[in-house]
Amino acid sequence: MSERKYAYYPGCPSGTTAMEQDMSMKVVFEKLGIELEEIEDWNCCGAAEVEDPEIVYALNARNLAIAEKQGLNIVTPCSICYYNLERSNIALKGDEELRARVRSIDASLAYNGGVEVKHVLDVLVNDIGVEELSSKVAKKVEAKVAPYYGCYIGRPPETAFDDPDAPGLMDRLIELTGGEVVPYNYTKTKCCGGPLMMTRQDIAFEMARKVLEEAKNAGADCIALACPLCGMMLDAKQPDIEEAFGIEIGMPVLYITQLLGLALGIDSGKLGLDKNIVDTKSIIGKVV
């Protein structure tokens, strides 16, 4: 596919907890010669907290309508934003009455169904393709990597873009960076616990601990992932999890665009690798 420009939906954590995801996404796409035009004045997708689907559809009708005016398909690096944007897209495209109802709230919510929504993993592997990416690889990242997919990449079925039980898109990217994918079958598609972090931290930490420990037991040098909530749980909360359970993990957690960026020869500072909470120097040291 020769799409060379996308409407970029950064998501709320892009300026704060997941700034390294935003930074790496932008420099990687620049390096690949693909333009990202931010959705102008985008609003929050509703995350996991807005539970009423109809409110989610209306919130995202606005984002979709702006992208439609920009004449571009959407790419987002966040799995939850992707899920909310895409399920809204499906609901609005398939239901004229819903579109009319949303439009009647405000003219800015008038969406005609002309946009595709994609997650960054889908764009990298399926739009750009492994072949083109491989041709641009300048360095090898000789690390053992645990690919953590989490929830909304392979589920639920109508928005999924990878296998629910044995996803492989991130594996393909890790392989082309020169990394080794470690066996990581038990927790790679399990939830990180993120949605319960503020209301049932005990359960959230238990979930995240399993994900981290399986990666460690598999001999991984780092975890790669593609969602800021997973990043928050596994990276930013990792010291708290270690303390809560009296364990040592010390597992660097990289956004997949950071890992890919290293292989494309991009400077680690530009990829925000000094922003990850668990030190990533050991991974930068494996770039050859």
């Binding site: 807005v50 009423d52 409110i55 800015s108 392979g154 399990k190 503020m198 010291p239 000094d274």
Partner: protein, 200 residues
């Protein structure tokens, strides 16, 4: 034992009217949802299949006051594996919203802080159009602890180290300290006022 004379057989229709709850009666009780649920490894007895059967039977009071409603991670594993397309993750969300309305009407006491958190989150969206972490934490902790002072004490206990960690990495700049606002905030307000169950 089920008290048959206390059952509310219309409960299933109440759920099916709620967005997300439409597929409830497709369930044939195979238990695939429970077998795949990651929470069952952590909470013994956690059983979404049972919540569905109780809903079908009309055990309204027991379902709406079930604390297990509030720990679902919405990870969608159940939905992905369900052979009957019951859409369990969305279904539990529909039941949660009925419970929240019952609490707002003073007919139910929910033993979970999650509704409070979700509402505080939505208030940020209504006000700013984007998530404002500090505003969310302030509203959530203040409400949970009963006063601004106690709320700030609890927040600082939970988040002091975490906050410092983010600060040291430059992740607590102006974008974290002040709300990022969308330009058209009036439309956010209108969405929350006019959309959602019961507002057709």
């Amino acid at each position: 034992m089920i008290k048959t004379w206390e059952l509310e057989p219309n409960f299933k229709y109440e759920i099916m009217k709620e967005p997300g709850g439409e597929h409830l009666t497709s369930c044939f009780q195979c238990s695939t949802c429970t077998l795949g649920c990651p929470l069952t490894e952590i909470i013994p007895g956690y059983n979404p299949r049972k919540i569905i059967q109780m809903s079908l039977l009309g055990m309204r009071k027991e379902v709406l006051s079930n604390p297990d409603l509030w720990v679902c991670l919405i990870c969608q594993t159940c939905t992905a594996r369900c052979p009957q397309d019951v859409r369990i993750a969305d279904l539990l969300g529909a039941i949660r919203r009925i419970a929240e309305r019952e609490e707002e009407a003073g007919r139910l006491k929910i033993d979970s802080v999650r509704p409070r958190f979700d509402k505080a989150f939505m208030h940020q969206l209504e006000k700013y159009g984007r998530l404002y972490d500090f505003g969310l934490a302030k509203e959530y902790y203040t409400g949970r602890e009963g006063s601004f002072f106690k709320g700030m004490m609890a927040m600082s206990k939970d988040y002091k180290e975490f906050g410092m960690r983010l600060f040291k990495k430059g992740k607590m700049g102006p974008k974290a300290l002040f709300p990022e606002k969308v330009k058209d905030r009036e439309v956010m307000k209108k969405i929350f006022e006019q959309m959602g169950a019961g507002k057709k």
